[in-house]
């Protein structure tokens, strides 16, 4: 199966990485989360309610919406913080030289295989964020960039909303025995599609660096 793959590229200050990742991933997960299924009998179930809440960013001029489930907040926070730390520590080691990394949110379903083969994870939607750490010289630049990143993320959120509402493949609703193959049923109050977050770092590519320089130049020449 070919998974839908979307890529967002951004250049951010180190302190903005965690919030940028959280805002986009929470928006995606909010769309890809259903209420908890409660089966009364096979084929007859009721669906719980997905609550939501506003979250303000400190280092980006943005408010985003996320599921109000504590468990999903913990997972995203943990992964986003680890990715941010990874990028920033690399930045410190290289004495301020720009470094980049990527973090992915993959929605997948499990396909059971015949014994003795293990079951297989098949991704059906992948959201990739490529981020580059940058350093700004002055507080004025930081303030300008705070707003700029807010606008940038707002565009991405709008894109996500538009993309989610296009007719595209989503695993069809399973029967009760196969629920775990499509949904993550480990949450007590919500039921997101199976997802995983993975990240890694990589040296900056030339094209990315050029893009960042151009972006910075455009931003700060206002």
């Amino acid at each position: 199966m070919n998974a839908r793959t979307q890529v967002f590229e951004m250049a951010l200050e180190g302190r903005q990485v965690e919030e940028a990742v959280s805002s986009l991933f929470h928006t995606l997960l909010f769309h890809r989360t259903l209420g908890k299924f409660h089966y009364k009998q096979e084929g007859n179930y009721c669906v719980g309610t997905v609550g939501y809440e506003d979250a303000d960013c400190d280092f980006v001029d943005l408010t985003y919406v996320r599921c109000s489930s504590g468990d999903i907040k913990k997972i995203v926070h943990k992964e986003a913080t680890a990715f941010s730390e990874c990028l920033r520590s690399q930045e410190r080691e290289t004495q301020g030289q720009a470094r980049s990394g990527h973090i992915s949110l993959t929605f997948y379903q499990i396909k059971k295989a015949r014994w003795p083969f293990p079951s297989e994870s098949i991704p059906w939607e992948v959201w990739n964020l490529r981020m580059e750490i940058m350093t700004l010289a002055s507080e004025i630049e930081r303030q300008l960039y705070r707003e700029k990143v807010g606008e940038l993320l707002a565009e991405k959120i709008l894109y996500i909303a538009e993309s989610m509402n296009r007719p595209s493949y989503v695993p069809k609703m399973p029967n009760q025995p196969e629920l775990d193959l499509i949904f993550d049923t480990s949450f007590a109050d919500i039921q997101p599609y199976l997802f995983k977050i993975s990240y890694g770092t990589s040296p900056p590519s030339t094209s990315m660096g050029t893009t960042v320089r151009r972006l910075l130049k455009d931003t700060l020449s206002i």
């Binding site: 908890k36 669906v47 309610t49 997905v50 506003d54 109000s68 609703m173």
Partner: protein, 454 residues
């Protein structure tokens, strides 16, 4: 699943192949999509953070598996705008208009959210659950996108002394927003009874400049006869009043002004209801603000708490400050007196929380947390605060006048000056007699220091 019931007229055109139950389901989905869309948009402009809990077991009002808490007033406005009809193919879109109004009376439409129904491309999509979940997804997108427009940022900054955000729900074509506008189709849901689309248009330039033309007019700019623009909020009000007088009803094509409270000055749902809304509208119309008008409330501000606080604590009495302090101290004494019967009576109607009972010299005092009277407010209790008295003998000026000269009560003023002079003279004579002794002492000290230096 939600069981809310409302009497809506059906479109009367049953798509081919739909059973009556399926038809009914689809119409209910469409009806509640309209309702919930307006709710989430208006709630996002309240200037407050929204937080609804996830629930394992849904309540009957939880449509589309989303925790959207309904505000009754918004629901009423939506139903009035729809006039009991369902949105059908070709009918005017349901619009939610968010506008900004300054205290000077200037207004600016910030954004339009429109839900329209068009010809469906999938008339045989009869899976109710698929339609239901697609509508849920669309609502999630509306919720997410509502936080990224400039109007959301403005909603948190509104206040009675600067600007307020207003909303209007109507069926009809939305107003133009000028040149700097961004349009986006948030999503579409294909159903057998039509293709539901939500389109957002929002202004990207928020500066009130002369280029914005009509939005900058003063509220009294137009003559009464010129109020012919049927889409103007003011016009809606005027037309409505006219209708009241003449018994006319507005045509279906024009924006529906559902009642007086949805005027140009459509205040948000938690604005004061009833006559307070009318008061605010009158003030806006008069374009006159003074301190006599009392506090103004933002459309999204919580008026009950604000008014309570303002009236009780922040309204300054027209009295000089010393008198003010005196009144306060007397009030505390009065409070203390009021509490005593509570003790002597041996029982209280409402037992206070955190009661701290202390016995001291056969006297029992009850203090109830923050309203405790005795220990924490020594200054007030003493009633002897410097300069706090109202009469002129206790003011600061009198104090300084008193201190400018030495006090007459000093003992030295009672002695005669001749005696003092005599004493000083005799002392000086004695010092002169002893002068040789002083010289010897100084010389001996010098010798000692020389010897020690060696």
């Amino acid at each position: 699943m939600a069981t809310a019931t409302m009497s809506y007229q059906t479109s009367g055109v049953a798509p081919v192949g739909l059973t009556p139950q399926e038809q009914k389901d689809m119409e209910r989905f469409g009806k509640f999509l309209s309702q919930k869309m307006v709710q989430v948009i208006v709630q996002s402009r309240l200037g407050e953070k929204v937080c609804t809990p996830c629930k394992a077991h849904p309540s009957p009002s939880d449509w589309f598996n989303l925790g959207i808490e309904d505000i009754p007033e918004v629901g009423i406005e939506t139903r009035k705008a729809l006039k009991g009809q369902l949105l059908t193919i070709g009918s005017p879109p349901l619009c939610v208009e968010i506008s900004l109004k300054t205290v000077e009376g200037d207004s600016l439409i910030l954004e339009n959210w429109c839900l329209s129904v068009n010809e469906t491309s999938e008339p045989f999509n009869r899976v109710s659950y698929a339609v239901y979940s697609r509508m849920s997804l669309l609502l999630k997108s509306i919720i997410s996108v509502s936080r990224i427009t400039p109007a959301y940022k403005l909603s948190g900054r509104q206040g009675a002394d600067s600007f307020v955000l207003c909303y209007r729900v109507f069926c009809g074509e939305p107003h133009g927003l000028g040149a700097s506008t961004k349009n986006c189709t948030i999503g579409q849901v294909d159903t057998p009874i039509g293709l539901y689309s939500v389109v957002l248009s929002y202004r990207t330039q928020l500066a009130l400049s002369p280029k914005d033309g009509a939005m900058l007019v003063k509220s009294d700019h137009f003559d009464q006869h010129f109020i012919g623009d049927q889409y103007s909020p003011r016009l809606c009000r005027a037309a409505h009043h006219k209708g009241d007088r003449g018994g006319e009803s507005s045509s279906g094509s024009e924006p529906v002004a559902s009642d007086e409270s949805q005027d140009a000055c459509r205040l948000f749902v938690n604005s004061p209801p009833g006559n307070k809304v009318a008061e605010y509208q009158n003030l806006l119309q008069q374009n006159r603000y003074s301190f006599d008008d009392g506090p103004k409330f933002g459309a999204f501000a919580d008026p009950s708490s604000a008014r309570r606080n303002l009236s009780a604590e922040f309204v300054l009495p027209e009295l000089p400050l010393p008198t003010f302090m005196k009144i306060k101290s007397l009030k505390d004494v009065k409070k203390e007196n009021e509490q005593r019967p509570l003790v002597t009576g041996g029982s209280a109607l409402v037992p206070p929380k955190d009661i701290d009972v202390t016995e001291n010299a056969n006297q029992t005092n009850i203090s109830t947390g923050p309203v405790s009277t005795s220990d924490e407010f020594v200054m007030v209790e003493s009633l002897k605060t410097p300069f706090a008295e109202g009469d002129s003998s206790h003011d600061v000026g009198a104090f300084f006048r008193e201190c400018q000269s030495a006090p007459v009560s000093l003992q030295s003023f009672n002695r005669s000056s001749g005696i003092a002079t005599h004493e000083i003279g005799s002392q000086l004579e004695q010092f002169e007699k002893d002068l040789e002794g002083y010289d010897d002492l100084v010389q001996s000290l010098c010798i000692d220091s020389d010897e020690s230096g060696k």
